[in-house]
Amino acid sequence: MTDASNSQASNGQAPNSDTNLTGARIGVITFPGTLDDVDAARAVRYAGAEAVALWHADDDLQGVDAVVVPGGFSYGDYLRAGAISARTTVMGAVVEAAKGGLPVLGICNGFQVLTESGLLPGALMRNEHLRFICRDQWLRVENNTTVWTTRYEPGAEILVPLKNAEGRYVADASVIDELEAEGRVIFRYVGAEGDHNPNGSLGDIAGISSADGRIVGLMPHPEHAIDALTGPTDDGLGIFLSVIDSLLKV
């Protein structure tokens, strides 16, 4: 479990909109068709940072300390999920800033955008069973050294919502080997044998990172698990707290 469970959010209070306790500013991108930007921004605020709205047509990241590319169906998932968004102005700026070490988190559609824009390897394809699936999903945190996962105990198991139609992670065998060898598989699907992998992802992979651990993408939705009132748990909050910790250290 995350040690986020004692945070201010878990007492079931209605979220307090602008508590920037830490001074950290985290950008949340909205493309046309993005859906979970409101949720991602709420999670950022729950964790104590300021959520800065970034618009797809902007080339200015407004000096944010980190960026979340949220879930949804940007551009309707038309062509391929994330394909059209990956080619927007704001993503050009994110790719540039990521080279300089800006922490970037891609959730669900955001993960798809990060693979389509080349920030993370591999691709996300149609679920093996061909259906959209929404369920509460157990994940194991395989690596707690990335900037987005330090708040978790090594091997912690967390329960967060999962919802996608194109969440099957695929990559060349050599890429998978490399990810595994370098500890870049960050989240893995776990649970009842035979039913734990919701979409046919290779190696039960739910989330991966860049080599330096500053860019993380995952299919499940930590931003929907920040308060047991509206999500299955508050296990997801640790992700947002982790990046804020890393920002405060610098």
């Binding site: 551009y75 309707g76 038309y78 062509l79 059209i84 080619r87 927007t88």
Partner: protein, 82 residues
Amino acid sequence: MARVEVDVVIKTEILDPQGKAILGALGRAGHSGVTEVRQGKHFELVVDDDISDADLEGIAEHFLANPVIETWTVRRVPESGL
């Protein structure tokens, strides 16, 4: 073994949201030379040599396309194409 390709496209009078979105993205990326995009499906089948044209037509109509909104073309591909 023979190879067959079937292309399925949305009927022209019916909205193709995907094509519309791709065209928009191409425009924003400066590919102004493209003026229309329609997205359909492309199937590659491996079939027995003796399968009839009528069979293939039936397969396309009942399994690969939705005749209410789509049209299709069936094409046998020369062996060298494999």
